[in-house]
Structures are given as C-alpha cells and as structure tokens.
C-alpha cells in the first residue's frame, strides 16, 4: 500500500498540490483523475520522487520515501515500474534492450536469463517477435506496450501509469487498460494510474481519487462515480455529450 499524507507542491506562485492525502491499495487499480492542471501528474511525480514536495510524506508499505537517503530511495525504486505518457523508451536501444536495461543494471542474471525474461514480458504484452525493432519503428500503442513490458521486467511491487491512453484509438486504449488490470492482479501490485479518460475510469477504476484545483475533491469507486452529487466531479465525468446521453 502507498499512503500520501498532506502533500504540498508549489511551482513559483502556483500552489499545485494543496495538502493531498490518500491511500492506494495493493492489488487494485487506483486511479487519479481530474481535469487538465488539477495536479494529477504532479502528484504522481511527487509519489515516485521526480518532484520533491515542500510538505508531506509518501509512505511505501511503512517506509517514508520522502525522508530517505539516496541509497534507500534506490532500493524502493527497484520495486517501482512506471509507464510514462510518451512511453519514454530509450531511442538508442532496441525493444529487447529497453526491457533488459533494468535487469542489466540491477541483477546478476546471465544474458540467456535476461533474454528469457524480456521475451516473457514481450509475450505478456502481445509483442512477441518484436525484439529487434527500435522505438522509432513502433506505433503509439506498441510503444505503450513495450513501456509496460519494461515496467514489469523487474516484477514491480508498485506500478505507476501516466495517461496510458493518450494518443491512442479507443480499441487500443481498451487493450492497454485491460493489460494494466490483468498485470495488477497477476503481480498483486499497487497500481496507480493517472488518467482523464472516462473509459478507463469506468473500466478499471477500483479506487478513484478525483483532484480539483490541487485538492482531493472526491474518493470512491467506479460503481459510485455516476451517483455522486459532487458538482465538480459531475462536471468532469459528464463533460462529453456521450456521457450526458448515457446518464439520461
């Protein structure tokens, strides 16, 4: 489980996160949702240590990440897998080398073992045989899947996903969502997904946190999201004509 307690983050005069506290549960898809500029990605980056919050703490299974030294942080980071919005694959490496990269850095496995693991991860994301391709040769959806394969290479305890469906067609987006959910169950990982895609919310949102203007506005599950009388959440969820029609 990951707990965030009273997180504050400011950029210049912009107080992006204003005392957010939340819990993210093991074996569940925990979604952080909200409009653009609500602080979703900033919260995610504070959780993984890419941003240092001015106040508050992030606790990974009782271990306070925000107050750790460099070496202890590395230990936690080897338990983290992350899929970035733009996939963030290493351009100079093939698909196979991208997946094997964390294994090369942090394990003493033989090349054969690492290759087997890379092939397993690729098979898991339905990209068998694409080992030798380079990121520039992949479509957006394939890049995301390679990003997931790299994220799960080290059997992560914590899986972070930033906007998994951005730039993807609805069908590919669904495949990615299902994959994230399957992997969460398979690895029993604490999965945190940042999204503003309502299909994802209704599909995999087991624990949903809604951010608005840097504050936690609502918390619940996909079953309760449509019934809420929270005005800001309703405005967000039923912003599209399709969702409005669905509500009627």
């Amino acid at each position: 489980m990951i707990e965030v307690k009273n997180i504050h983050k400011t950029f210049g005069n912009n107080h992006v996160l204003q005392g957010i506290s939340a819990e993210f549960y093991e074996g569940k898809c925990n979604l952080i949702i909200g409009g653009s500029g609500s602080g979703k990605t900033t919260l995610l980056k504070c959780m993984v240590g890419l941003h240092q919050p001015e106040e508050g703490s992030v606790i990974y299974d009782g271990r306070d990440f925000t107050r750790m030294n460099f070496q202890s942080r590395i230990e936690i980071r080897t338990e983290i897998g992350m899929l970035f919005q733009g996939s963030a694959l290493f351009d100079s490496m093939s698909v196979e080398d991208n997946i094997m990269f964390p294994l090369n850095m942090f394990t003493n496995q033989s090349r054969k073992e690492k290759l087997e693991r890379a092939n397993f991860c690729l098979e898991r994301v339905n990209l068998s045989g694409k080992n030798k391709l380079f990121p520039a040769e992949l479509s957006g959806g394939m890049k995301k899947r390679v990003g997931i394969a790299r994220a799960i290479a080290m059997n992560p305890k914590y899986l972070f996903v930033d906007e998994p469906n951005s730039g993807l067609d609805p069908k590919t987006a669904l495949v990615i969502d299902e994959l994230i959910q399957e992997l969460t169950v398979e690895y029993g990982s604490t999965t945190v997904v940042v999204t503003h895609d309502m299909n994802s919310v209704m599909g995999i949102g087991e624990n949903i946190i809604f951010l608005h203007e840097g504050k936690k506005w609502w918390e619940g599950s996909k079953e309760h999201i449509a019934e809420t009388d929270n005005k800001e959440l309703n405005d967000f969820v039923f912003a599209s004509k399709f969702m409005q029609a669905l509500k009627k």
Binding site: T78, I80, F84, F90, D91, F106
Partner: protein
C-alpha cells in the same frame, strides 16, 4: 547571477562522479562514446588540421621576407604554434561545435521525452550513467585527436610550403627539428584534457537542465556550443599564463 547555475553545475558533476551501479555497463558506454567522440571526429579534425598547417605556413612565409631570417624558421613557427595553440584550441572549438552540440541535444531530448525520468524511476543515477562515460571518453580521446592534429598540421604545412616554393623540404625539416622544447607538448596535452572536460560537462549540463520541447533543445545546444567556446578560450589563457 552566475552562482546559481555554477552551483547546479557543480552538484551535477558531483552526481556524475558518484559510484556507478555496474562498471561493466559503464565500460560499454565509455567505449561507445570513445568511438563516437574519437573516431567520429577524426575526419573533421584531419581536414581542419591540414588546412591550418597549410595556411599558417603560407602566411608565415609571406610575413618573413628577410634575408636575415633563415626560412627554416617557418617550420619552427608552425611546429610551436601548432603544438601550443592551433591543434589543441582550434580542434577543441571545432569539437565544441560537433561533440558539444551532439551531447547537449542528445541529453536534452532525453530530458524532454522523459527518458531521464525513466532512468531515475528505475533507480539509476542518471547524471552518472549519461555524463560520466562521455567525460571519460572525451578526456581520453581529445588528447589523441590533438596529437593527430599536430601531426597533420605539420604535414599540411610541409605540403603547402614545398608546393608553393616558400621553402625546401630540407629547410622545413630543419625548422621543425631544431630547438624543440618537449614541455610545449605537456602544455598541449594539459589544454586538451581541460578543454575535453569543459566541452562534455558544459554541454551535458545544458542538456540535462533543458525543459520544454524541441525549441528548447535547440536553444540548449546553441548555448552549449557558445559557453563551451568561451570556456575554452578563457581556460586557454589561464593555462598559458600558469604554465608558460
């Protein structure tokens, strides 16, 4: 105004020199960078060195129109100016343009496409992984390039001098072999190592702290080249003042 970036630069270097996670991965990266910086720059260094030597010889011959000065002095002047100034400084300025802009845009692109964030998330010391191999490769390869450049500058001077009739082959050989002070080579190598360090670290710094998109990557690359060139010329003066 200068203290904030200087502090960030020093902290980045401190992080870059942290103990590597796995030396064999770094070794591989160092070899790749050596090929990229060293072998990749050989062509341009060879071309500029040949022409520098040729131009220096022809212009020195033009200025030394006196019966009291032996023509072999042209070879001597070419040798010393090549070892002390032309090869280390001009080569390094060219390398700042070629290698520096490449380092800055490579690291800058990695920054804006979140590849550096991905390294950090994996628990990898990104300044160490990205910058240290480049520094080691550059401080190894740039002195070698400078040595090659010295040889080719003198060769270019020989060709131009003898072909234009400014001096004979014997006069040229007499010039480059007389009164040679080997300390000039030491100064040249100190300059090469210092310039290599400055080019890689300044360019890496500019790339590492890029934010935004393609436009900012281009701006970082330009700044890397400009600041590297100024740093090279400034340190050139400091080294000359201290060592000569």
């Amino acid at each position: 105004m200068i203290f904030h970036p200087l502090g960030k630069y020093i902290l980045l270097l401190k992080a870059a020199f942290r103990r590597p996670e796995k030396w064999n991965i770094y070794r591989k990266e160092i070899v790749n960078e050596m090929v990229s910086i060293g072998v990749g720059s050989l062509g341009i260094i060879a071309i500029i060195s040949l022409f520098l030597g040729a131009v220096t010889t022809v212009q020195t011959a033009f200025q030394l129109v006196s019966d009291f000065i032996p023509k072999s002095v042209i070879g001597m002047i070419l040798r010393d100016s090549s070892i002390l100034e032309l090869s280390p400084t001009i080569s390094s300025i060219v390398l700042a343009g070629k290698v520096g802009s490449s380092i800055s845009s490579q690291i800058g692109t990695m920054r804006v496409t979140e590849q550096i964030d991905a390294l950090e998330i994996m628990g990898i010391n990104s300044p160490g992984y990205l910058i240290l191999p480049k520094i080691i490769a550059a401080v190894t390869m740039v002195p070698l390039l400078v040595i090659i450049s010295i040889g080719l500058t003198i060769f270019g001077g020989y060709i131009a001098g003898t072909a234009s009739g400014a001096l004979t082959a014997q006069e040229f050989t007499d010039g480059i072999t007389s009164d040679f002070n080997s300390f000039t080579l030491t100064v040249s190598m100190v300059k090469a190592v210092a310039f290599a360090f400055l080019i890689t670290t300044i360019s890496a710094y500019q790339g590492f702290y890029t934010s935004g998109g393609a436009l900012e990557v281009g701006q970082s690359s330009t700044k890397a080249v400009v600041i590297s060139c100024i740093a090279i010329l400034f340190s050139d003066y400091v080294i000359a003042q201290l060592m000569l």
